[in-house]
Subunit: 187 residues, 4 copies
């Protein structure tokens, strides 16, 4: 097997100082065995089937980028008890045209993040439902990062040791999961 495994990271918030992105960065720092790359989704035009014959340059670039990775990680806030529209749109764009989904078969993981206690449970499981359809085998480990604003210092560094331990274990489990799924595909 080639190592390190490469992981496309999709962050569901466009906000520059997004706490969701900080969680993604913290996971990256705590998981040296995986190589993470955040993929921009804010420039993707809304999916419209009328444009499928002549896809936009942004759609094509996004699809081509995702294809090259071993795995995908979704780190998302919750908007109105579900996935942000912008993140769902990226999933929709990547899933088309029919038969050419870039998500197909890639091992994945989901982390949801919120300022409150519930930790984005609604977004987390809505995302999982879509990923079942897209044939993305998702790590079962649940990650609901609540109270997120209190976890980081002034420079965006993770200052909560419990969360650090949690993310370290999550990253290790994800790494093992990628190995398991890719070994199964190769068999």
């Amino acid at each position: 097997m080639s190592h390190p495994r490469t992981v496309a990271v999709i962050v569901g918030s466009l906000r520059k100082d997004s706490v969701t992105r900080k969680v993604a960065k913290a996971l990256e720092a705590l998981t040296p065995g995986l190589q993470f790359t955040e993929i921009e989704i804010g420039d993707l035009q809304h999916f419209n089937q009328d444009l499928e014959a002549a896809p936009t340059a942004e759609w094509t670039a996004f699809r081509n980028r995702i294809k090259a990775f071993d795995a995908v990680l979704f780190v998302t806030p919750e908007y109105n008890r579900s996935v942000p529209g912008v993140l769902k749109n990226a999933i929709d764009v990547g899933s088309r045209p029919y038969g050419a989904s870039v998500w197909n078969g890639k091992p994945g993981a989901v982390i949801s993040v919120s300022p409150g206690g519930i930790g984005g449970f609604g977004a987390n499981h809505h995302l999982r439902q879509s990923l079942v359809f897209l044939n993305v085998p998702i790590l079962t480990n649940e990650a609901y990062i609540g109270g997120a604003f209190s976890l980081f210092g002034e420079n965006g560094e993770l200052i909560n040791e419990g969360t650090a331990e949690f993310l370290r274990a999550f990253g290790q489990a994800f790494s093992d999961w990628i190995d398991t799924i890719l070994a199964g595909k190769a068999a």
Copy 2:
């Protein structure tokens, strides 16, 4: 009470000849007691909290338009077992800024549409979960319009009598629901 009640219609597909829009149009024709107006969502930029202090003209126009209606109707296809990103984005835009959601308290209804048999069940219930949070009392009547491509003629007219009866009853139930909820708010 003022009549007819006005209903903002949000169609989850941007496709020009969308079968989802045909369902919305058929419901409108079969429900003379309500006044439906489709509200464009394809021009709404992705929600980004960094832009809240200076919202785009499209966001502001959308929010102002929705506010004026008595009720909201969502007619949606299913993309990847959930709500299309573009529709979820419209919901997100309308829900912000915090405390000023345009959806708050408006009676609503949901119709999901698909070419296959399942009729968009996944999109329908994901949408309902968001609408609970947004304090939109939703008509309980379930509407899963499956096999949708076979329901319309060459000019987009509904040719399936069973579906026509179903939509007529749905429109009547929605009209009664709007009256019930608005009467309760006035009490």
Copy 3:
């Protein structure tokens, strides 16, 4: 209208000292305008369609009891991210035989309770999905009672003032909701 409205309370835990039941009791104490009665569900045999022609005495008694109430309240723990089997069974028993569901049209509300932070979000929304099908118009107000073990004193009395305020407002909203829905049915 006849007052006070009567509410059948279904508690999803069979445990004698259940914290979920304490939440139900606290709501009752804080909502003098409604008359709550807990309905036992632990004696209901598992639903089995083969027994429909000769329903058990417990099934029949349960169905007859529920029918007499104006409204229904579900107060539930979360088991494995969903509704406890015993509670779902009570819903199933009450929904049968086909065409004679005792839930049909009754206004309802849902409260989920958990020791942890997430407050039973998964159970809450799974229950709502069933109640849509059963034509139970559900109060939109969300009630996720987390950290539940710390909310009560030695004698089961509610000692958290924030929760008391929350439940008082919830009970008032439920009371208004019952009036709204029943007025709509009578119109």
Copy 4:
């Protein structure tokens, strides 16, 4: 690896002539590489935490039986847009006491069955949400068996060739999935 893999089959309907059970039997006949055993769930008392210190004989027998299998298959009807209470109860019983869940880590698969078109979508995904929490890696392949009453002959034999092909492929995918997950655990 030891072969054939053994699979515990949980059928969500207690009905003797359940069409759900016929689907399970058809899958078994079409998947010679796996050894299926249906495990009775109708005799399990409702879960009650007060009984945990002295579990019933049925609970203990059920837990011990499940433990011995390599994998688990859930074949379920949909009751009121969710999992039947009796099936959810079996999951709850198997998950306890805390830390000793018999489901933990076993590869699994879900099939939902209904007479109508929607194929039990609601039950299927509610079940998946519970199985995420229970750390059961679930085959992504979706199986919504709709129109189920028309698929079987007088002696319960599968007479629909399309369904047979579908189930054959599903069984093969499940077999591969079990190998993948168990190989990953062994690594």
